[in-house]
């Protein structure tokens, strides 16, 4: 019996290629590829370049935050507050761009009345960083679990957004502001370029810097990292700052895309973001994961939504399918990990 199984495994390794293992390890990219092929066959319009660019633009907002979230989850943390933080930072940016709440509903912005776009941009990002720093502080110094801290952030930031905007939207920006969400360089939408650039930078930071090494180490085994003299607290704190930064950046792009910042923006966004990271193969227990995986995960969700909508699948069924795929992706990952151990 034993001999038999040994022979089996030898036979597999002898071929030099274990198909099952390969499938399980690369489940997300392969599934993305399969989805694209299936949609392309079933609905020819799916492959239309305009549609593909639409999908990319739709993905870029949640994708940017998912990049930040990858850092957090790599340290075995979580940030549930990102959707609410997007609403808050977007409103702050819009407020600065408009120079106040007086002309908040003016669709055709009086460009002279407000502040330069760069100030709005910086304000949104500054608030994102500050919120992240605050949450990171609560996690590292008050030793409240990240789930609880950011669950508090989820309601508190939403409340702050509503309070700040008096409940309503702030809308109507200058063309320079809208360009960040609606403009194109060549044919490529601006948010897509920023998303991809962000992914490349994050990949380099994680894979080719000492800091990136620390992030993996803290998530892999915080205690061992601490004993080896790594600045565990500082690293843990910093990942919440990073995700706050991506929230500020994404909210700026989102409000520019919609010409409007809303207190109700980003509701449920945290689920899309976390799903993208997890589908991309990052372990919720920390220490394992890649930016490439996260980008694939974000694209997978975007492609799935787009394809199902194009094929006119009932929106109720769509939500079931997306939920099942989330669980299936993680199950496959677990399967691959178990095989590796045995």
């Amino acid at each position: 019996m034993k001999v038999q199984s040994n022979a089996d495994s030898r036979a597999r390794s002898g071929k030099g290629f274990d198909a099952v293992d390969f499938l399980a390890r690369n489940s997300a990219p392969l599934f993305l590829l399969a989805l694209i092929v299936v949609f392309a066959l079933l609905e020819p319009r799916f492959m239309h370049p305009i549609n593909l660019l639409n999908v990319m633009r739709q993905v870029s907002i949640s994708g940017l935050i998912a990049i930040g979230m990858t850092f957090v989850i790599l340290t075995a943390g979580i940030d549930l507050s990102v959707g609410s933080l997007v609403a808050l930072t977007g409103l702050v940016g819009a407020y600065v761009a408009k120079g106040g709440l007086e002309s908040r509903f003016a669709v055709n912005a009086n460009v002279d009345a407000g502040n330069p776009v760069i100030l709005a941009f910086l304000a949104a990002i500054a608030v994102g960083i500050a919120a992240g720093a605050l949450q990171g502080w609560a996690v590292t110094r008050l030793r409240v679990p990240p789930f609880v801290v950011t669950l508090g952030g989820l309601t508190a930031f939403r409340g702050a957004a509503l309070l700040f905007s008096e409940g309503g939207p702030i809308s109507g920006f200058s063309a320079a502001y809208n360009w960040w969400g609606q403009g194109r360089i060549g044919d490529v939408p601006v948010p897509v370029i920023i998303f991809l650039a962000g992914a490349v930078i994050a990949h380099i930071v994680l894979r080719h810097t000492r800091y990136g090494l620390y992030v993996y180490a803290v998530g892999g085994n915080a205690k061992a990292a601490e004993e080896n003299g790594l600045p565990v607290r500082l690293v843990t704190w910093s990942v919440y700052v990073i995700v706050g930064f991506t929230c500020g950046l994404a909210s700026f792009l989102l409000s520019a895309r919609l010409s409007s910042a809303e207190a109700v923006a980003g509701q449920g966004l945290e689920l899309d973001v976390i799903a993208a990271v997890v589908i991309g193969g990052t372990s919720l227990f920390g220490g394992v994961g890649t930016i490439f995986g996260t980008v694939v995960g974000a694209l997978l969700i975007g492609v799935l939504r787009n394809g199902l909508v194009l094929m006119n699948v009932s929106s109720f069924v769509q939500q079931i399918i997306i939920g099942l795929i989330l669980v299936a992706a993680v199950a496959l990952d677990q399967y691959a990990a178990a095989r590796k151990r045995s």
Binding site: R45, I61, V107, G167, P169, R257, L258, A263, V309
Partner: protein
Amino acid sequence: MRRTIVAAFAASLALTAAPAFAQGEKIAFSVPSLGFPFFVHMQNQFNDEAAAQGVEVVNYDGQNQTTKQTADVEAAIISGVDGLIISPIDSVAMAPAVRQAVEAGVPVITIDRRVDGVDGLLGHVGADNVKGGEAQGNLIVEMFPDGATIVNLQGQPGSSPAIDRNQGVHNVLDGMSDKYPFVAEQTANFAREEGASVTEAILAGLDSPPDVIVAANDDMALGAMQVVQEQGLDIAIIGFDALPEALAAIRDGTLTATIEQMPGGQSRGALQAMIDHLRNGTQPDAVTLLTPIAITKDNIDQAERLGELN
């Protein structure tokens, strides 16, 4: 035998893929959220009318996220629909997507809610939420000519129906605030359980019960009604949306009134205008507004969804 089956299959494929008859226009219908029965009803009425007219409908559910509805509109444009009828989640945030549709040459009619700052729309069919709120206010004045104390249950903060309906009630009553004071104004997020819990808290904090509870939708009104009944109080309760459940409560005398916005009438009217445009080149009125009406026991037969009661 086998050949006929294959032939029949091929024929049915051909039919679904590309209807051969002239009627088969493909119209996209996008609603803010099928989580709300209001829009489910609107969509059902739309699809009934479309079937009667021989039009193919592609239904989109915005899931209450402007990003989702924007993606839906982009998908509709790619799908090459002949027309788009949309009830935008937000009048400003949906403007860029609607503008994209117009620029792609798709005729667009907005329904129930508008978009701001988009040129070249085929038309708008709606029943203004502000007018509906005003109908609530007018009913209060009519029922209590000598004045009344009012509790106002507001909708989800930041959502445009919540803002507009609240605005309407205030438009009518703010000028007579000495006769019609708002003794409490709180949000109950359009939800029934919050309508009940918030009403409970408000009643506990007031020295004497109010004369009227006005709510920005029927769910909150029904929640408030539950509490008022439990406490054996006599308070007029006015809801909004004319949901079947609210109509039943009005018929049974436990709810005072609701506001009928005629979502079915809106969606049928918008579809008719779109079909006339596509088939005959008719240019519809830029704005068609149905006037919302207050439904009480006396005129309950004017409610669109009375037929769903049984």
